[in-house]
Amino acid sequence: MRFMVIVKASKESEAGQMPSTELLTAMGKYNEELVKAGVMLAGEGLAPSSKGARVRFEGSKRTVIDGPFAETKELIAGYWVWKVASKQEAVDWLKRAPFNGGEEVELRQIFEMEDFGKEMTPELRAQEAKVMKSAEDNRKKK
């Protein structure tokens, strides 16, 4: 099963402040362990919300609200995607992460094709497979 490991934003990340050399070094080692264990599938950091925007949907109306977004509590600063055997394994990996300043990280299981059961018709499955393959090819092109 796969988990999205969501690192919440902090005042520092929202201010565009770079982590210390110490933390970067510890994070580098931790990422290396994740890769060696075959756990890490992806990982990215996001620019502060001041560079982003939100689109709110209402009928056919779309309202664009430019960042920053004041409620930093639920904002995302970055994420990993991990492949593990259980939620417990994901929790165990996360407990070893070199965070030390009151960070909060959320673990969320990712939907897999088999979670959808028979609602996911063979046609939809084929379509999904095509989309996923194409996305993978685009990532390699980068």
Binding site: G52, R54, I76, G102, V105, R108, Q109, L124, K130, N138
Partner: protein, 138 residues
């Protein structure tokens, strides 16, 4: 440049464990996914199970503390994401506006940090990580 389109579905913060998206919605999403794919902008996408099946780990003083979902205080939670490669924020917003979302739902568009965005001092530390990510997957 790469952008994440973060989906914030209304009411998902209190969805029961095992909740699946409505089949009609799945079909609409698949059409939208296909339009992203045909335009060649799609890099990744995933949907997330409700927060009631997740957990949060906080690191106050470096000590991990685990709280199982649902998260009572959360007013907005993530339902899934797309990552796209486009030329501008405006193009990302255009794609976000076309998503088949329901009333009062939100898509947050956030730029993904690239190696070149980091100052040289930071790049030294991130370099190894870039190589790790490009390594062949198991």
């Amino acid at each position: 440049m790469r952008f994440m389109m973060l989906v914030i579905p209304k009411g998902y913060e209190s969805a029961k464990a095992g909740t699946l998206p409505d089949p009609a919605m799945v079909e609409k999403m698949m059409k939208y996914n296909e339009s992203l794919q045909k335009a060649g902008v799609l890099l990744a996408l995933d949907g997330l199970h409700p927060p009631s099946m997740g957990a949060r780990v906080s690191f106050s003083g470096g000590k991990p503390r685990i709280t199982d979902g649902p998260f009572a205080e959360a007013k907005e939670v993530l339902g899934g994401y797309w990552m796209i490669q486009v030329k501008s924020k405006a193009e990302a917003l255009e794609w976000a506006s076309r998503a088949p979302m329901s009333d009062n739902e939100i898509i947050e568009v956030r730029q993904v940090q690239e190696f070149g965005d980091f100052p040289p001092e930071t790049q030294k530390h991130v370099e190894g990580f870039q190589e790790m990510k490009n390594a062949p997957k198991k």
